[in-house]
């Protein structure tokens, strides 16, 4: 690079310098599951890193080939188990697209409400664990307190809290229960103030700022090239949200903003996710207000045999674009199910974001990418 480089003898180190290889995970408190990160360290600085995945591989895509279209749906909850409802929506939506099923408006509204609630739940869990990784323990427990309310709503609607299997091909499993609207409304009234509370603890905190600003910066071009999606992409300033770009369900009826960041660092992604929670609340309230009357499920044959063909359907899951590519050979089982999970693509940015930072930043960056290993390993 420079013409005035000193002779080789002068630069030869007197002490032998070596990089230390540190194995982080798969059993580690902050790799958010069974991610194994092999770090090459120079002191505490990261020279190189490699992500080793596959510890949670269950072969969900292959399992789905041996189940009927409806029978495979519950397995999809086990992808991003933090936002099971979103997985279910994407899969069911793909099957409906393949079979040409029209979903009644009421079911669409309930689907939007439940997936937006799940988005809030997923972001709450992200915020809690992210803050905990950076040392703010209290936020974690506050977030779980509010997440509990969402899980209660999911439980009264679907009967389960985590792997909900919320929807059916053609609509919902059952009509919304009594008290659903009131309970959801009460939650919406509550959550706005609670998000302000988290912001009060973190947003202007000097330590939080110094730990997140300028950490894991990625510009818009690189973010698109790597294939980031969701808040990780929007944090870099790319206004891309599938709910607006190619609206599914009833999203075209609702008004909401797409928050974007400017610097593409950890702090911007944090702000984007917080704002997304507020927007999700806005969508839920609109969906509750405009709740149509009518059927909650379309007429769908008991054994679903979609015509031969292929379809790709993707939704804006809390973590990014979640897509299902289904190939049908006309039988009752799908010929091929290919899952495009956002976490897998977001993880690709790890190496690029981490190099040059410190060990302490690795956990912040894993947190900011908001990965879930159930979806990466499938």
């Amino acid at each position: 690079m420079s013409n005035t480089a000193p002779p080789a003898a002068a630069t030869a180190p007197i002490l032998k310098e070596d990089v230390m290889v540190l194995n982080m995970g798969p059993q580690h408190p902050s790799t958010h599951g069974v991610l194994r990160v092999i770090l090459k360290l120079d002191g505490e600085k990261i020279v190189d890193l490699d992500c080793d995945i596959g510890y949670l591989h269950r072969g969900i895509e292959k399992i789905a080939e041996n189940r009927s279209y409806t029978g495979a749906a519950p397995y999809m909850d086990r992808l991003d188990y933090i936002a099971a409802v979103s997985n279910n929506l994407a899969y069911v939506g793909a099957v409906e697209k393949l079979a040409g099923v029209q979903v009644p408006p009421k079911a669409q509204h309930v689907r939007v409400i439940l997936t937006e609630l799940t988005r809030i739940a997923s972001h709450l869990l992200w915020l809690g664990t992210h803050a905990m990784d950076i040392g703010a323990l209290t936020v974690f427990l506050y977030c779980f307190r509010e997440r509990e309310d969402i899980l209660n709503i999911l439980e009264m609607t679907t009967g389960a809290r985590l792997t909900t299997n919320a929807f059916r091909v053609g609509g919902l499993a059952a009509d919304i229960p009594d008290g659903f609207v009131e309970k959801t409304r009460a939650f919406c009234d509550l959550i706005g103030g609670r998000i302000d509370e988290y912001e009060g603890l973190l947003s202007a905190n000097r330590i939080w700022l110094s730990r997140t600003r300028g950490i894991g910066v990625i510009n818009a071009g690189d973010a698109v090239a790597i294939g980031l999606s969701g808040p990780s992409l929007r944090g870099s300033g790319v206004k891309w949200d599938l709910r607006k770009a190619q609206p599914y369900e009833a999203y075209s009826k609702f008004e909401f903003d797409i928050p974007t960041g400017a610097n593409g660092d950890t702090y911007d992604r944090y702000l984007v996710r917080l704002e997304e929670m507020r927007q999700a609340k806005r969508i839920i309230l609109q969906a509750l207000d405009g709740m149509p009357e009518g059927d909650f499920r379309a007429k769908v044959p008991r054994v679903l045999k979609p015509p031969a063909g292929e379809v790709y359907h993707s939704i804006e899951a809390p973590k990014g674009e979640l897509g299902f590519y289904l190939v049908s050979d006309g039988s009752a089982n799908p010929y091929r199910v290919r899952i495009k999970g956002p976490s897998f693509f977001n993880l690709q940015a790890m190496r690029r974001l981490c190099i040059g930072h410190f060990v302490a930043d690795v956990v912040a960056i894993i947190g900011t990418l908001d990965i879930v290993l159930g979806e990466i390993d499938r």
Binding site: M20, L22, N23, H28, P29, S30, E44, A131, M132, D133, I134, G135, A136, L137, T138, L141, Y142, R145, L201, L202, N205, I207, W208, S210, R211, F358, V359, A360, D361, V362, V363
Partner: protein, 345 residues
């Protein structure tokens, strides 16, 4: 043999009482921490063992003792066994010098006894020297574990604790200048004479001392050596059972030490607050109560920090220390010395 100890009966009795009281205080500090942080985090904390979990520290102690004592096969046995003791013992020694109460604290059988074990001329220096020995325990422990995470944790703690000794030492110099003595008892007496506790004229030194104190004890937001999120357990990752408990207790003992020294240097030790106002009503309250209240206030601050703050990154921590605390501490000494010179002209 017994004849040899006869002249030191008073000290020996005090040491035994002190050991018991401090151990109890440490045990209940862990309980208090879990309760306070629990309530900050909208939880209850321990509730099952005893009334509101009051027996929890005892249950924990029993658990630590009966746990299997594991020494990793590749560890350096000598260092591994030595390290917890190196951290634990100095943490207790310091209490011999803390004045819990004044020279005429209580009367037993017509004889007056003081509220401390020893009053040494170089007490403050001795306290700072002994507390630095604790660092050795962390280094030795991290090194002897022969494992990467403890090593990183130990490296961090060495760098952190050694650096924070410097502004800490400088921050108390202002107090020493004002009191004209290194004896902790005489520092308190100087505050009594002055009528002001030193935290007001030495506000800068006070703040720096407490920040450094939090860093010295590896507590939030400076708890990097044991940052669970990154380093699993830091220097004590490989420790379990009672050896881990010793590290743990040393940390809490150090918290109490730092708080006690802060209370002595800056908050007037055993002195009553607002004596002109409160003395007619509260003169019967023993000094040790005032002292304990002040220590408790500091300890509560520690717990409050832990419930509120995120954690600094290693380089940022060092930046604060070298770029902010150290220059400010030096400036504080210069200003104090100048003012003292002017006043004593």
């Amino acid at each position: 043999m017994l004849e040899l100890f006869k002249p030191y009966t008073e000290e020996l009795v005090k040491i035994v009482i002190l050991l018991a009281l401090i151990s109890l205080a440490i045990a209940y500090l862990t309980w208090l921490e879990r309760k306070v942080i629990g309530h900050i985090q909208s939880r209850l904390g321990p509730m099952r063992v005893g009334w509101h979990g009051l027996l929890q520290p005892i249950a924990d102690g029993i658990k630590f003792i009966i746990k299997e004592d594991i020494i990793p096969a590749k560890a350096d046995r000598f260092g591994f066994i030595l390290a917890p003791l190196l951290a634990f013992i100095p943490a207790f020694i310091v209490f011999a010098l803390i004045p819990f109460d004044g020279p005429q604290a209580f009367t037993v059988g017509g004889k007056t006894y003081s509220g401390y074990v020893a009053d040494v001329d170089i007490a403050l220096l001795f306290v700072m020297a002994i507390t630095s020995i604790c660092v050795l325990g962390l280094i030795v422990g991290g090194w002897a574990s022969n494992s990467k995470y403890p090593l990183l944790g130990a490296l961090r703690s060495v760098a952190q604790l050694v650096s924070y000794e410097i502004p800490m030492g400088l921050s108390v110099m202002g107090v020493v200048l004002m009191a004209g003595s290194l004896s902790l008892v005489r520092i308190v007496q100087a505050q009594e004479r002055l009528g002001w506790w030193f935290f007001l004229p030495q506000l800068v030194g006070f703040v720096i001392y407490f920040i450094c104190g939090v860093a010295e004890t590896n507590r939030n937001p400076f708890d990097l050596p044991e940052a669970e999120a990154e380093l699993v357990g830091g220097y004590h990752t490989e420790y379990s059972g009672f050896r881990f408990a010793l590290f743990f207790l040393a940390e809490y003992a150090n918290m109490i030490t730092i708080s006690a020294v802060a209370a002595t240097l800056f908050l007037g030790g055993w002195l009553m607050p607002f004596p002109s106002l409160l003395a007619p009503y509260l003169s019967w309250v023993p000094g040790i109560v005032w002292f304990s209240l002040k220590v408790f206030a500091f300890l509560f601050l520690y717990l409050w920090f832990r419930g509120t703050f995120p954690r600094y990154r290693f380089d940022q921590l060092m930046g604060i220390m070298w770029k902010i605390l150290l220059p400010v501490a030096i400036a504080n000494i210069l200003v104090t010395a100048g003012v003292m010179l002017y006043l004593n002209r």
